[in-house]
């Protein structure tokens, strides 16, 4: 079976600034791919272009059999892609339950229902509750998202993406700002995801990267510097040169 | 042939007036993210105050000099007293506030000056027609074209060559950064708001001999100005300039060539531009 996510020579400029240059990736179904690189390397821009938030200035993106270059974000989402955001992008005044319920509603036809009270759609509510519990947010259903702790908000971010049961999951620094305990829990949860879902994660925390990733892609100044297995990337001299500082742990 | 040149000149005069209005509105938006819906009201104030000044002093030129600062003072008051407290709130609240002021100005003008249509004569010296291209063209309109062109040039030079202009451009590009560099951004806001309002007042005085002075001119003018900035792109002086030209000429030619459809010509132009460029001709990309 072919790659589930392919970018071909993807480029994105902002006026005079080249944020992405010639980025080509092939991600296999079920793969766990980590995207790492110093700040400003273009990682979030890459996600934005893949998910449709931005149009690429050159190159193509394919999701499964679909050519999705330049499609609007909601069309790409409906084709089986879900993402989280680097900075919490929640519906802050709504409760955690309402947030997740909307994410669930997005992939059903329920939005067409104009006259049924949403509270009667108990299947949505139950599924939302279950998902919140899985994310470690049980009991927080009725709390407005802005009243959640930062770590809980990060968890809610991931919950919204998981609610879509996507084919491809893009996680943008899911553990940023989290305590070690929260990070460990998130890592455990992500590693338990079924292999019918492909996960691409941007991370700075190398512990998380090495715990999850099958393959790592290193971005630097908008270009792919190296791509391969964690061992190969770690041993790459160029990577060692430019990307120090996230505390590469010694693995046995 | 002569007909088209003359109409183009008429359109140019109208475009210059529109530019004065659009530039002010666009600058204010570019800096403060607020569409000043009272802009038409300040224009109208300029026209009515111009009327009164001419009556009191007998001189059109005195009005041209004294009215804009007076109107700018009104803008200053609005910003300082009413808009500032809303900076903590959303831009929408700020826009709605200006909408409320549009109501107030509209009725105050009606109250103080009455509801009849009034007119202001062009000043002596400019109230004649110049023979050109085998026919006569009003000297006053040539004056408006010259004045508008001079102001456009002045604005452009001011923004691009002076330190103050650099500060304003910096503020438009990135408010937080500008403030972090020690510039009192709140003062810049007030200054630009007052200046933009003053431009509207100036436009009101200058336009009075051509457009007439009547209640309702505030919103008529606001709408055309909005169409200009939508077409040209909000927040860009270049956009205001070309938008004014496009709409000014379209309106003028529309009135003479298609009088029944004259009403909708500029709306059609706007619709056409928006279909192709949702942010206006010179506005930023949407994605």
């Amino acid at each position: 079976m072919g790659a589930v996510l392919v970018t071909e020579r993807l480029g994105r400029r902002f006026g005079g600034i080249v944020a992405l240059r010639d980025v080509s990736l092939e991600i296999a179904p079920g793969e766990r791919r980590a995207i790492i690189g110093p700040n400003g390397a273009g990682k979030t821009t890459l996600f934005n272009v893949i998910s449709g938030e931005l149009r690429p200035t050159s190159g193509e993106v394919r999701l499964g059999d679909h050519a999705v270059t330049g499609l609007p974000a909601h069309r790409i989402a409906r084709l089986g892609l879900a993402r989280t955001f680097q900075r919490n992008n929640l519906l802050l005044r709504l409760t955690a339950l309402e947030n997740v319920r909307l994410a669930l509603q997005a992939r059903t036809d329920d939005t067409r229902k104009v006259f049924t009270p949403v509270v009667r759609l108990t299947h949505l509510r139950d599924e939302a509750r279950a998902l919140l519990a899985r994310m470690g947010l049980d009991g927080r259903d009725g709390v407005p998202a802005r009243a959640l702790s930062y770590g809980e908000q990060r968890q809610l971010e991931v919950a919204l993406a998981l609610a879509a049961r996507p084919q491809v999951l893009l996680l943008d620094e899911p553990t940023s700002g989290m305590s070690p305990a929260e990070t460990a829990r998130m890592t455990a949860l992500l590693s338990r995801l079924e292999r019918d879902q492909t996960v691409v994660v941007i991370e700075h925390d190398m512990d998380v990267v090495f715990a999850l990733a099958d393959r790592i892609t290193v971005l630097h100044l908008g270009e792919v510097l190296a791509s391969g297995t964690p061992e190969a990337v770690r041993a790459d001299a160029r990577v060692q040169d430019i990307y120090l500082g996230a505390g590469t742990p010694e693995h046995p | 042939m002569t007909f088209y040149v003359l109409q183009a000149l008429n359109g140019l005069a109208y475009s210059m007036l529109l530019f004065l209005l659009a530039a002010g509105l666009s600058l204010i938006f570019g800096l403060m993210d607020v569409v000043n819906l009272a802009h038409g009201g300040f224009y109208m104030l300029g026209a009515y105050l111009g009327l009164s000044f001419v009556r009191w002093t007998g001189s059109f030129w005195v009005a041209v000099v004294l009215v804009p600062p007076l109107v700018a003072a009104g803008g200053f008051l609005l910003e300082w007293e009413f808009l500032r407290p809303l900076y903590r709130r959303t831009h929408l609240d700020q826009i709605l506030l200006t909408f409320g002021f549009a109501f107030v100005i509209s009725d105050v003008v009606r109250w103080l000056w009455g509801a009849e249509v009034q007119s202001l004569a062009a000043p002596p010296g400019l109230d004649r027609s110049i023979p050109m291209l085998g026919t006569l063209f009003p000297a006053y309109r040539l004056f408006v074209i010259a004045l508008g062109g001079a102001l456009a040039l002045g604005l452009w030079l001011g923004l691009s060559r002076t330190r103050l202009g650099a500060i304003v451009r910096a503020g438009v590009a990135n408010k937080e950064m500008t403030q972090a560099m020690g510039i009192n951004i709140a003062a810049v806001f007030t200054g630009v708001f007052a200046f933009g309002t003053g431009l509207a007042g100036l436009a009101g005085v200058i336009a009075a001999p051509i457009q007439g002075v009547f209640p309702g001119v505030d919103f008529e003018t606001l709408i055309v100005t909005l169409i200009v900035v939508v077409v040209g792109g909000l927040g860009t002086l270049t956009g205001s300039f070309w938008g004014s030209l496009l709409i000014g000429e379209a309106e003028t030619f529309g009135k003479t060539l298609l009088p029944e459809a004259a009403l909708v010509v500029i709306y059609l132009v706007m619709a056409a531009v928006l279909l192709v460029r949702p942010r206006g001709l010179f506005g930023g990309r949407t994605r």
Binding site: L102 | P85, F101
Partner: protein, 307 residues
Amino acid sequence: MTRAAWPAAAVVLALVPLGLSRYVTTTLTEILIYAIFAMSLDLLVGYTGLVSLGHAAFFGIAAYTVGLLSAHGATALALTLPAGVAAGAAAALLVGVFALRAAGVYFLMLTLAFAQMAFAVAHQWAGVTGGTNGLAGIARPAVPGLDLGPPVPFYYLVFILFVAAAWLLRRIAASPFGAALVGIRENEARMRAMGFDTFRLKLGAFVIAGAAAGLSGVLFAYYNGFVSPDVLYWTSSGQVLIMVLLGGAGTLAGPALGAGVVLVLQNLASSYTARWTLILGAAFILVVLAAPRGLVGLLTGRWARSS
């Protein structure tokens, strides 16, 4: 708003004409008509977060539709009511397709511009619209077996339609569609990332709001007996917006209440001064500065959310 409030209000409103004066009945008729108008705008402003400065366009177009049909002898309510509602919906579809594609502030300006265009057309296309004089002599609609001429029967027609509109709008607000609208208000970008076609949803809300505004426009034409370009003027759009803001956006009940407050104020003010526009503007400024959540917000002491 407690769930009992609506049925209680309905009962009170149903009984009013039986006991109180003709003046009260006709005033309440006008209030209920504007309440429908205000609730329709609330769907846009309060629920979807779309502030339209030109909502009077749909109200006025529907009113003119009735005026025109009436002038040509079509008086059956069964014809004019759907025609007016359809006119409002169609106009909203046309405006929405353009205005909603534009981001943020542009939307606001475009709604204003389109409403002004409608005003200009009504004002100048004298052959069809009657120009500044408008269309007069609109007789009450014909309903088999009923005489809607006197105030009380007409009040009940308006009352029934108000109840129906309020019920429908509340159902819509409480539906998954309504929840999606609220999501758009809260964070449209995230909604798109989740897979919602927000343009289509906003357009749907816009058309529903236009249809409901059309309903109120139809009733207004019959209530007033004539239609003039004033209904399309920007002050008309501003007035319904302040009804929504004053009452409390996002609650449906708030705007209905706001309609009552504004109209009562207008009636009072008009007997003392001609400066109603000035007062309205001042009220607008006051509400924005001091009471952004409106009366309902003040009464309940917190943001009355629509979920």
